[in-house]
Subunit: 360 residues, 2 copies
């Protein structure tokens, strides 16, 4: 079967890491019974430069038509001073919203070979494997009204945090499903002692929990969650939270691992009646403009994002696991890109890391 | 001169740690030229039990009339299932709002003697000394409209994040003043790539910065800030941010130190024409109901909160430093309450810790 994959390399190191993923895809096409029809589009700064628009209708239409989208990274200082409405980030937010990608999966995993890269003590993070589920198309990111206005001579800036029951319910279901496939523990993070929107959130999570009696569900306030991630991250299995809290906590969790350049993510839509769902995969790291074009960026997060694509979009878990194992083995073999370099290891380029992964 | 101090022991370990602070106050009254007129009031669960109200008008009036307020802690499982509007937390939020305590100072300090208590590696946190300034009476905590409503048969929960220019300006000024007294570096944390309210925030901080040319000011997105706190917290001197972001980041920063039981906080209002300002001081830790009444809680965070009172409300910096030094010395001497116990140290009770501090 042919899988239609739209790649959006984006800005900074996006294009060069994407090149390595394409080699993995080529390898898969040759060696496994799968065919990728790969197209490429523009997003973020690259699209602003070409079309004065961080996400054109054409790219969006291509994304909607694809079986899965793989994104590199967006943004950079070149576009930092553009007005709010046409910044690179708008492209990312718009594609998430228009494709209905409400479920953002952000694993925080410590690879055995890289445990020393964490700023946390080894015993605190060794073996860490958390999955953070972030709601991605609602909450304060998209709530109306929003803006900056003058009232009686005073300027106000405002945003609206809003969740409906169905919005909470669908992300909660994804979270419980995920917990069932893992260690059956789910922690829902809210601020129900202060925010009514998250009182509703908690209520809905409690209700959905009744359909998953095997899952051990708990609730934690977001301030406590940010402490607990630092104190003892291994207490968590799956965490589910709002768009804004998820943005903050998933980055904190990512940094606990000490190796941002290794972390993938998936953003999934609802499953349609044929079992298909819109999906976008991207590394957690940014566009790293300071090192772009030097062939020193770490391609593994994007390659692992592609592995997530195999697992969640194409039902090819075995192949996903194969890639993940290859990544572990390459690390065990002592190869490191600059960002994860350690004493005694061999520092390699983006290209060599890609090649070594393929040999492996 | 006589200083009118209202103590609000609150719930859980609040009363027992407060008892130790009172001994320090008594000592000060005897040995230094200062007199404390100490009154006591109810807040949180203690007030709910007595008056069915987490903060009565009477306590609030006492707080307004005091020169400074010292709070223990509020909340506990006993009151967890009360409706949103009469939970212990309401008392805390109301007293902050009614007293106009917009500037919340949350130092995150690693005491040399306790550097091993952190889950982070010693070189990452040794000598850490950050001051987080959290806006405390605005933002999404208090914005209107808010609530849970049904529209066309669907329930929605919503809150409003709103900041006016004057609200941002006054907290920014406190932050710049603070930076001037420290290492002259200020990092303002926002999410200006997504939230218009924080576009305004950033704009105002930039404007206020012009009045403090000596301060090196930077801006950071909140997700990045939560990463940077874990990656390299010592890069920060003063951080300033919104109510909600400050809640999350200051707890994360507190946990970096590994010794929550040591961290004080201050919440300050505007300075009036006589140079006086409303102020409330409280430890960062909670009411710890699981260990309440056992004389094992750590009284040092509350004692250090009292030291902050001396510094910020009574202009008694030397005495504040004396107490802070005494705390360092007691730790150096090897005394530890259970929460900060380390191998080879002497485990002591709340009372003994208070006594030892006074001897010191
Ligand atoms: C770039 C930005 C708009 C985005 C977000 O806040 O969602 C990013 O931080 C992320 O987490 O993917
Ligand atoms: C108890 C709660 C309402 C409070 C807050 O969110 O402000 C607490 O977490 C704090 O930080 O003082």
């Amino acid at each position: 079967t042919t899988k239609k994959v739209l790649t959006l390399p984006g800005d900074g190191i996006g294009p060069e890491v994407m090149r390595q993923v394409k080699r993995v895809m080529d390898w898969m096409a040759k060696k496994r019974s799968v065919n990728f029809e790969i197209t490429e589009g523009l997003i973020g700064g690259a699209s602003i430069d070409a079309h004065n628009n961080p996400l054109t209708d054409e790219t969006l239409a291509d994304a909607m038509a694809a079986d899965a989208v793989l994104l590199g990274a967006v943004g950079g200082p070149k576009w930092d001073n553009l007005p709010f409405d046409i910044k690179p980030e708008r492209g990312l937010l718009k594609i998430r919203k228009e494709m209905g990608l409400f479920a953002n999966l952000r694993p925080a995993i410590v690879f055995d070979a890289l445990v020393g890269a964490s700023t946390l003590k080894e015993d605190v993070v060794k073996g860490l494997d958390i999955m953070i589920l972030r709601e991605l198309t609602g909450g304060i990111y998209f709530g109306q009204p929003r803006g900056i206005e003058e009232r009686d001579g005073v300027r106000f800036g405002f945003n609206t945090l809003v969740y409906s029951e169905p919005e909470v319910e669908r992300i909660a279901r994804v979270a419980f499903d995920m917990a069932m496939k893992r260690d059956k523990r789910l922690c829902s993070v809210d601020k129900a002692n202060v925010l009514e929107s998250t009182v509703l959130w908690r209520e809905v999570v409690e209700r959905v929990a009744k359909d998953f009696p095997e899952v051990d569900v708990s609730h934690m306030y977001v301030d406590n969650a940010s402490m607990q991630l630092v104190r003892n991250p291994k207490q968590f299995d799956v965490m589910v939270t709002t768009n804004m809290f998820g943005d903050i906590l998933s980055d904190c969790a990512a940094m606990l691992t000490g190796s941002l350049g290794m972390l993938p993510s998936a953003s999934l839509g609802a499953t349609d009646k044929n079992g298909a769902r819109k999906a976008l995969y991207e590394p957690v790291h940014g566009s790293a403009p300071d090192i772009a074009g030097q062939d020193i960026a770490n391609p593994l997060a994007t390659i692992l994002s592609f592995a997530m694509m195999l697992r969640y979009s194409f039902n090819m878990s075995d192949d996903a696991t194969m890639i993940e194992t290859a990544v572990q083995n390459v690390l065990k073999g002592g190869l490191r890109t600059a960002d994860i370099m350690q004493p005694g290891m061999a520092k390699v380029s983006t290209t060599v890391m890609g090649e070594s992964l393929i040999s492996e």
